[in-house]
């Protein structure tokens, strides 16, 4: 009863609460007859909006439109709030109509009561919440005019104008007007600050805070003169050093960037030199208060400008600065010192001056190395015990000549000259030179050094050559490996095996240190040697990719062996490092490949995803879950929250999207209140990303598919979820979905020029807009043809939307089916199903469109669509029949089986749906539908038969032994791991673990096959 204004209204609201709307209306009419008020009118409209009749709902909307057009505007905010509630009942989420009605009412109210600050603010906020930017702009303008002493409202007005001008809501013709005005006005405020004599007492109309400066930059970027941004940032009163800027680092970042873009190289060079000097100089209280000026972006800009100025003297200056930073007397924090060391590497690469030669004479053999290699080695000596050394050096190692890389490899192999020099200055120790010792792996630092060495070896031996070979693949499919000199394909089996074996041996040594490190680990820690295990798994996965042969038995090919080995290693590393999310991410992928749904889910749940992570990482498990493991997962192992069903998990994700809208709105307002103007624009980006998220679309599709599959009914919220979570403008050709998925958190030691390991290890195509759009189409068709009576009201709307989108997508799809687009983003089964759905759509829309029937080629056109559909269904059946290695069913088999079943079942319903339409369908369709029905039923039959084969196969005994034989093959065979590698892997898990794990894998296969029992021929209509 929030709306209570008068005690006399209590009975009305009591009736509303009791859902006795008739009574409520009667009461309100009685009160209105006595004393009509805006408020009571609004109460009446609100009550009518609660009535279920469509006629009432449309009457409410008409009334709202009339209100807007009335001469006298509403000034009772409570009445407007009620109208807004009524609107929500009638047209939930319809933004455009909201703007035309409620937004307009709010603006009119502000116009009537411009001095009532509270009311104006409420209306402003309401418009912002609805993204009604034009009204928000007008209200902000009124606030500025009516409260001229307020500094904030000046900026609210500018921000609102700029927001409006940059949004699609603003008519093209007005963009320059509002943009120009915002830029002109903020320009004047900037001028006031610039000209101010007393910066402590700036006038109201001036720029006074860092956020206002950032807004100035943002607006000038879009609507100002090209050079103006930098001009502002160069100004003493407006730049990063000004009193107004309060040292905000964001302004420095902008300034450096713009100077680069403007090719102001000399100035930039001088500025960076000054900043870096200031960074290392102590102030009066002996503090390095400006240490953060030695940020990497300053070093980078310094080096970049030197390279543009093309004179050695600039490099000499940089060298001097590096030395000053690295001087032991310089007490700058180690995080900043590291930048100077890395700058030294970059400098060596950038300059032809053999800068490091002078320096490295002390470091034994480093002195004899070519300068660039020497720079890399010195960095490694110094920082090899930091986890990030590999990432820091990767791009430099890539830039080495191949002979330099070969030398580096020799050093890495022999582990010589890579340790931290004991005495940085002084004569080299003759002993150290020849010593090539087996590295100790008993401390975290030693282990990290080894890891960096192995990663660099991987880069030099494997990743870089693989990338180079890939580039020349067409010219030459066979290669001579530059490292082992053997012949190889893109991946060199010998090199990968060697590295895998070495690194797993090192891992084994590191973890079996009598438990020294292992014992001291907290449950929230990870073992420092984990990356050795991850690296080995990567090598094994690549080795698996070499084998592309198809054999009739899943467990007897080398791909399975390598991948099972990778899985075993990662799984046995996990108990020591439960918090290592990279182990879990890789395991989800591997178990998915093997078709072990419950184990993949177990690994996924170890990530404990929450909140926004449900948007960025759900794809790792839930993308395609409906064609992988659509039935409830019954395994529940580690942890308490395992019992949630798939649907519940997807719904939890969907909650995130709904909640986040509220959160963003709330904070948008807060940002206005606190003058954080820059944040407002960032929040808009978040809104855009979440409202168009790949993962949101995925969650809707997968949720509906799973529901339909397991219950044979239409998901209750199918339609509302589509409205809620699928962007309204999805079918517009300009709309693109936003890929917010996080692919970067996967471990990746690949060359920076090559695809990431996440991409390399996709056994099935990753998330892609083409596939999601196709899924949305198939979803709409499934809903339309669904025999369930519940949907009857919605079907016409869905059919209309099919038709509307047909035109907008026709061209792009015509192009895509020719060029075979989708082949990269979909499995073969998905592509065939996709063609079938497209044909269904054409048939549904065209066969019922009488306007088309008269066209000369209509009959043959329709025939074309029908035969396309039939042929695709037949092709799918053929694809399934040809699949040989299906026991146990790996991901590819599951995907084909479930995809085929789904399209087959939809096609059966599709025929019934058209048959039910009688004479409104073109006459030849009945005959055509019959043939399609037959093809669809045959397809389902093939699916059921294939599933029976899998089930029967799994029911036979001996699977645990087969798994164990596959992981550790008895005899050496070509293409399979060498006996040495097998032995090295075998050392890691103990026997008990192996038995148990193999049992889990087999159980998981059986659990997975339980989903087959849901697939049946649809009962006759």
């Amino acid at each position: 009863m929030d709306n209570l204004q008068d005690r006399q209204d209590v009975p009305i609201w009591n009736a509303v609460e009791a859902k006795n709307y008739k009574q409520a209306l009667k009461l309100v009419d009685k009160r209105l007859a006595k004393k009509p008020t805006d408020y009571l009118e609004a109460v009446k409209t609100y009550i009518r909006s609660l009535l279920p009749q469509a006629s009432e709902k449309s009457a409410v909307f008409i009334h709202l439109e009339e209100l807007v057009n009335r001469k006298s505007s509403l000034s009772d905010l409570a009445a407007i709030d009620l109208y807004e509630d009524a609107f929500e009942e009638v047209l939930p989420g319809a933004r455009e109509s909201w703007i035309k009605t409620i937004g307009e009412l709010r603006w009119q109210c502000v116009k009537t009561l411009p001095k009532q600050e509270d009311i104006c603010l409420k209306c402003f906020r309401a418009c912002l919440d609805r993204d009604d930017l034009d009204h928000a702009r007008q209200i902000a303008n009124s606030l500025e005019k009516n409260f001229p002493k307020s500094h904030s409202y000046i900026f609210w007005n500018i921000t609102s104008m700029f927001l409006f001008a940059s949004s699609p809501q603003c008519p093209e013709s007005q963009k320059r007007i509002w943009g120009g005005l915002s830029s002109g006005q903020i320009g004047k405020l900037a001028a006031a600050t610039r000209e101010a004599t007393d910066l402590k007492q700036l006038p109201v109309r001036s720029i006074q805070t860092p956020q206002e400066l950032l807004l100035l930059d943002r607006i000038t970027e879009t609507f100002g003169q090209p050079d103006q941004r930098l001009e502002y940032l160069q100004d003493l009163h407006l730049g990063p050093e000004s009193a107004v800027a309060k040292g905000d680092w964001a302004l420095w970042i902008l300034k450096l960037k713009l100077m680069r873009e403007a090719n102001r190289w000399q100035e930039l060079f001088d500025l960076c030199g000054t900043l870096l000097k200031r960074a290392r100089e102590a102030n009066d209280s002996n503090q390095l208060a400006e240490a953060s000026f030695s940020d990497w972006i300053v070093w980078e800009a310094y080096l970049k400008s030197a390279s543009k100025l093309e004179s050695h003297k600039y490099y000499d200056q940089i060298r001097a600065e590096v030395e000053a930073h690295l001087d032991p007397a310089c007490k700058i924090d180690k995080a900043w010192k590291r930048n100077a060391s890395l700058a030294s590497v970059k400098l060596t690469f950038a300059s032809s001056t053999a800068f490091s030669q002078n320096h490295s004479a002390a470091n034994g053999e480093v002195a004899e190395l070519p300068p660039r290699l020497s720079a890399v080695v010195q960095y490694l000596q110094k920082y090899g015990d930091a986890n990030t050394a590999y990432d820091d050096l990767r791009q430099y190692v890539e830039a080495l000549e191949s002979n330099e890389r070969a030398r580096l490899l020799i050093m890495l192999d022999a582990n010589t000259g890579l340790e931290r020099p004991q005495q940085p200055i002084g004569p080299s120790e003759p002993e150290a030179k020849s010593k090539s010792e087996v590295p100790k792996l008993s401390t975290a630092d030693q282990i990290t050094r080894a890891i960096n060495r192995f990663k660099l070896k991987y880069l030099v031996m494997c990743s870089i050559p693989e990338h180079e070979r890939k580039q020349s693949l067409e010219a030459k499919p066979d290669f001579k490996c530059i490292t082992c000199k053997g012949s190889c394909g893109i991946f060199c089996q010998a090199c990968l095996e060697k590295l895998a074996e070495e690194s797993i041996n090192s891992y084994q040594i590191a973890v079996n240190d009598d438990g020294q490190i292992t014992k001291s680990l907290l449950t929230t820690d990870r073992h420092p040697a984990d990356d050795l295990c991850v690296l080995t798994a990567m090598c094994l996965i690549k080795l698996a990719l070499i084998d592309t042969s198809s054999v009739s038995e899943n467990l007897s090919n080398s791909r399975t062996t390598y991948l099972l080995q990778a899985t075993v290693l990662l799984e046995s590393a996990w108990p020591r490092s439960k918090s290592n999310f990279q182990l879990s991410l890789m395991l989800v992928r591997l178990y998915s490949y093997f078709g072990c749904g419950s184990l993949a889910m177990r690994a996924f749940q170890r990530l404990f995803l929450k909140q926004i992570q449900l948007d960025t990482l759900s794809y790792t498990m839930f993308d395609r879950i409906s064609s992988f493991h659509p039935h409830p997962i019954s395994d529940s192992s580690d942890g308490p929250s395992q019992t949630r069903t798939l649907i519940e998990q997807l719904q939890k994700q969907q909650q995130l999207y709904k909640k986040s809208r509220e959160h963003i709105n709330k904070n948008n307002w807060l940002a206005f209140k606190h003058g954080s103007y820059n944040a407002i624009f960032e929040f808009r980006e978040v809104t855009q990303k979440l409202s168009h998220s790949f993962s949101a679309v995925m969650s809707v599709i997968e949720n509906n598919k799973i529901h339909r599959f397991t219950t044979n009914t239409v998901p209750a919220s199918a339609i509302s979820q589509m409205h809620d979570l699928i962007p309204a403008d999805i079918d517009s050709p300009e709309t693109t979905l936003s890929d917010n998925n996080d692919y970067e958190t996967f471990p990746n030691y690949e060359s920076s020029l090559a695809p990431t390991f996440e991409e390399l290890s996709r056994f099935i195509p990753g998330p892609a807009e083409t596939r999601y759009r196709l899924n949305l189409l198939s979803e709409k068709i499934s809903l339309i043809v669904d025999p369930s009576p519940e949907l009857s009201g919605e079907k016409t709307i869905l059919e209309q939307s099919l038709k509307q989108t047909l035109d907008s997508q026709k061209q792009s799809w015509a192009a895509s089916s020719k060029s075979g687009v989708g082949s990269k983003s979909m499995t073969r089964a998905e592509q065939l199903a996709g063609h079938a759905y497209r044909a269904m759509r054409l048939i549904i829309t065209e066969s019922c469109d009488q306007a088309l029937w008269a066209k000369g080629d209509f009959k043959s056109r329709l025939e074309g669509h029908n035969s396309e559909l039939r042929e695709r269904l037949e092709e799918l059946a053929g694809l399934l029949e040809e699949m040989e290695a299906v026991v146990p069913a790996f991901q590819d088999t599951l995907n084909a089986v479930y995809t085929a079943y789904e399209v087959g079942r939809t096609a059966v319903y599709f025929c019934r749906f058209l048959n039910g339409k009688g004479k409104t369908v073109y006459e030849t369709q009945t005959e055509a539908s019959k043939k399609i029905g037959e093809a669809a039923e045959r397809l389902i039959q093939v699916v059921v038969e294939k599933c029976a084969v899998v089930k029967k196969g799994l029911d036979e005994g001996g699977w645990i032994d087969k798994v164990l034989e596959s992981v550790f093959p008895e005899s050496e065979q070509p293409g399979f791991p060498s006996a040495l590698l097998v032995e090295a892997v075998r050392q890691v898990p103990d026997e008990v673990f192996m038995e148990e794990w193999a049992g889990e894998v087999v159980e998981s296969w059986k659990e997975s096959a339980a989903g087959f029992s849901y697939m049946k021929m649809p009962s006759k209509a």
Binding site: K246, G247, D248, W249, I253, A291, S292, D295, W296, D333, A335, W336, R338, N339, A386, N387, T388, D391, D392, R394, Q395, L522, T523, T524, R526, S579, N580, F581, Q611, I612, Q613, T616, L617, S660, E662, H663, I664, K666, N667, N668, L670, A671, K673, H674, S676, N678, A679, E682, F683, E685, V686, K689, N740, D742, E744, T745, N748, S752, L753, P755
Partner: protein, 196 residues
């Protein structure tokens, strides 16, 4: 390399390298956005090197801070806090630890505290989080008081009922004579409802 920049709202899509670690909580969107809406200059991230596949670099650490005093109605309370900076969250991804990033990030907040004339910087840390405590002690923070049962759980012990927090402080320039710090803060115990 070490490179800092302000946290952008869209960084929430990329902070998994820090937030998948069990010692770092992932809150709802409101939490991060409300800090950006109020103290955008105190929310800073550190980046790892960029590459063609990840041109903006990966997030390797971040600090969330705020600047405020207790609400004015609290002024007579013995627990009233004058204008100060507060470290709300500080996290470094497991692969970027021990490089000095936490120290660098917390220094940046201290500097902002001085810039805005705050009295001190404070933070809460779990009694069991010895690593973080040694970080802060090394930077000149000392315990101001112990908040009994401040945390409702204990990540290293699922059986435990909860855990105490140490409220640690470091004075800033404004507190020239050290009015707001204590040398023996371990002896001062307060309840969660006393801290604001």
């Amino acid at each position: 390399m070490t490179s800092l920049r302000p946290f952008h709202a869209t960084d929430v899509f990329k902070f998994n390298p820090t937030n998948l670690d069990p010692l770092t909580e992932t809150y709802d969107l409101n939490f991060y956005l409300s800090y950006l809406a109020r103290w955008p200059h105190l929310f800073t991230i550190a980046l790892s090197p960029s590459s063609p596949s990840n041109p903006s670099g990966q997030i390797s650490a971040y600090i969330m801070g705020k600047l405020e005093s207790s609400p004015s109605y609290y002024i007579t309370s013995p627990h009233y806090l004058p204008f100060h900076a507060h470290i709300t969250a500080l996290t470094v991804s497991p692969s970027a630890r021990r490089l000095g990033l936490a120290r660098t990030l917390s220094s940046s907040l201290e500097q902002a505290g001085d810039e805005y004339d705050a009295w001190f910087v404070d933070l809460f840390v779990r009694k069991s989080n010895l690593i973080a405590q040694s970080l802060y002690k090394g930077m000149g923070y000392s315990v101001f008081r112990v908040v009994k049962g401040y945390y409702s759980d204990d990540p290293s012990d699922p059986e435990a009922e909860g855990e105490d927090a140490w409220d640690m402080r470091k004075r800033l320039k404004r507190d020239a004579d050290g009015r707001h710090v204590r040398g023996d803060g371990e002896r001062f115990e307060v309840m969660p409802e006393d801290v604001w």
